[in-house]
Subunit: 221 residues, 4 copies
DNA sequence: GATGAATGAGCGTTCATTCAT
DNA sequence: TATGAATGAACGCTCATTCAT
């Protein structure tokens, strides 16, 4: 336990921290460019430039370009789920929670960073199994999130799917709608007040769809 | 009206016909490959091979690769709208028509050619204004289709949007859901009976969402 | 058999001829550079420069860099065997023919183009099976050449190997010695008269070795 | 002669020993990989991994990659010469000694470590003067070894070259043949008994060649 | 001296587009 | 108009070497 050992432990920790930081800097740069120009048009050199490191360094942290995309997708997916979960927890009822989650998703992701959403869906076509796995993984987790949200006996209101497939269908519909929103948002170029109204309408649509596929145990949601 | 002129008119017509045929052959080949391997991974040479013409010939019919994609999108869009329109016309009521349109869309496009749908949405990111226009054009027409379907006083049932944005929102939600279905369908790998059940659930979701955004003039849809 | 058909046949022939010519130009450039700088240090761009074509064109004629090396090796191998065969045919006896072949090989290949020899042996290590096959193919043919030369009952002098392996051993020894000569020639930097003397000594060595492994049917070679 | 000085001398010695050991560990790792994958395909990182040190440390012991190759060649050369010398010493006559040396070389080097031989010849093309010097140095020493072996009046049997160049020619032929054997051995894939027979044939070939270039003072070798 | 992350020049290969025939 | 060989810019990835710790 001499100062030497402490020192090396400390420097190892610092190294570790710096490595994590570097990795996250690269991911941020990649996310920005992938969203801006699309995966295929983004060059590793550009990512390195923005991250203010060398091309070789990128490859010290990520196996290859696709690995970078997977990292970006994982990050976005994690952030997205956390956002929705937090909003959901604040709801008074299940459907109120879902509404809040939808609104949060729309206002805190689709509006400020529409491209992030697109990345989760558009850019992962035609790639390796790893990438498909990353995407499937995200979808399964979201499906699980939605399922848990609907099924938990929160505030005494239990729900039931109208069929065994409804959970998946609802999850896919919700994510697809938001993906679509992310895609089209740039075409709308609406005034801010319209944007908010669109968000509200979309959430109503989503909740309306959900209601069609679930039945309340107590006939009251 | 000498034989000469007649002859040249005829041959001009024949040439015209052949040119159209050639163009359509190229488009079919491009559509197949774009759907199969994605736009960026498809090489002009491959398209030429399948169309059984030369690379140079492709450029005789289309300005560049992107122009080919626009042509493909236009074709798919036209086919899609026709499919939905025909199904819709057979419905007894507006919502019944929408349901039929959705089912037709799912069963006649998403199931047999899931990749075509993807093309309409996934592959058009990060391109020129022309391509964005093609896509916007498709979306606007679909929006119009949905609007017309809902608004027409067919069988005496007039509907009203709950807001001025509902038409667009509904159109975006529907197309997005089907795009999402196209994307994820391959991950499901379900049994055929499940597939059909999924289609039915999705349509219920869609119709449920629509109901949330419209009000009947006569309180009966 | 109109002029048109003749024309297209002719132009097809010309195209064919030009293509062959182009291929051979590329091979010549590649051979020069591979010999000069070694396979790995030679860049496709340099080959294209010397051949006065574009980089892409190289890939129109050869699948990849290794394919180019295989082509070069095949050419050199073919030339080498022809050279030795012709010299051998002029000999009065088998061993005289072998001596002539050795001298021709040394004077017409090792001296003017020592690097060509090296290419056959040195640069093919650590590559794909295709390349190894090309090399094995060359060795087997040379083994066959030597075998045929020794075994043919030319001028009534039949020979017999002292063992079933002698044919291969002799072929490997001869090719190895010449490969070694090619390798070391640049270190010698001898006067021309020495060079010739070295060639003669080497041939004596080779023939002496062969004599040790064969027995004459008539005790006279 | 205080304990301090002794101590520092001892520790200096220990450090010296450790340094040599480290250097030799690196060389062993490099030799293994160079032989296995070829010089150019071997990465410094791989060598460091096998030697269980860091990349930077390799550069503490060797100026650069080529310097490593030179070190490896020197080691192999030294080992090879020692091997041949020891075997030669056990012979009853000069040519018997040469035969023994050849057999030892074949059985103790070519068979167990064919790649080492290749390194001496194949991988040193297209490099700096230092490398060429290392190789020339090896060749000159082997030439000297052969010369000494043939010329020494061992057991009363003096020999004479048939020309002033014979010594070099013989040395080059012998080393070339063994280099060739190393190269081709993997293509033969013979049974062990064939392998031994090949070794014996090759030695006969070598000795036969030598006999052609030397004359006995007493007409008896 | 030892470490190992960072560097960046370098290269093989692809493919949309052009153009001589 | 059709052809298909030629073009060359573009980019992903490697790895010998350096250097701050």
């Amino acid at each position: 336990m001499g100062s030497k050992k402490n020192g090396s432990t400390r420097s190892a920790l610092r190294r570790q921290r710096e490595k994590e930081l570097r990795r996250s800097t690269i991911l941020t740069a990649a996310e920005k460019l992938f969203a801006q120009k699309g995966y295929r048009k983004t060059r590793i050199e550009d990512i390195a430039d923005i991250a203010e490191i060398s091309v070789g360094s990128v490859y010290g942290h990520f196996k290859n370009k696709e690995d970078l995309l997977i990292g970006v997708l994982d990050d976005i997916g994690m952030y997205t789920r956390k956002l929705a979960r937090n909003a959901f927890m604040e709801g008074d009822s299940i459907l109120d929670g879902i509404e809040r989650a939808g609104i949060a998703f729309f206002e805190e992701l689709c509006l400020p960073y529409p491209e992030k959403i697109r990345l989760l869906f558009d850019e992962s076509i035609g790639f390796s199994d790893h990438l498909i796995d990353a995407r499937r993984n995200f979808m399964e987790k979201v499906t699980g999130d939605v399922h848990n949200a609907l099924m938990q006996a929160k505030h005494g209101a239990g729900l039931k799917y109208s069929s065994g497939l409804s959970g998946e269908v609802i999850a896919v519909c919700i994510t697809s709608i938001y993906a679509g929103l992310g895609n089209y948002y740039k075409f709308w170029k609406k005034q801010p007040e319209d944007t908010m109204a669109i968000g509200a309408e979309v959430v109503r649509y989503i909740v309306g769809g959900i209601k069609s596929l679930i039945v309340s145990n107590e006939e009251r949601l």
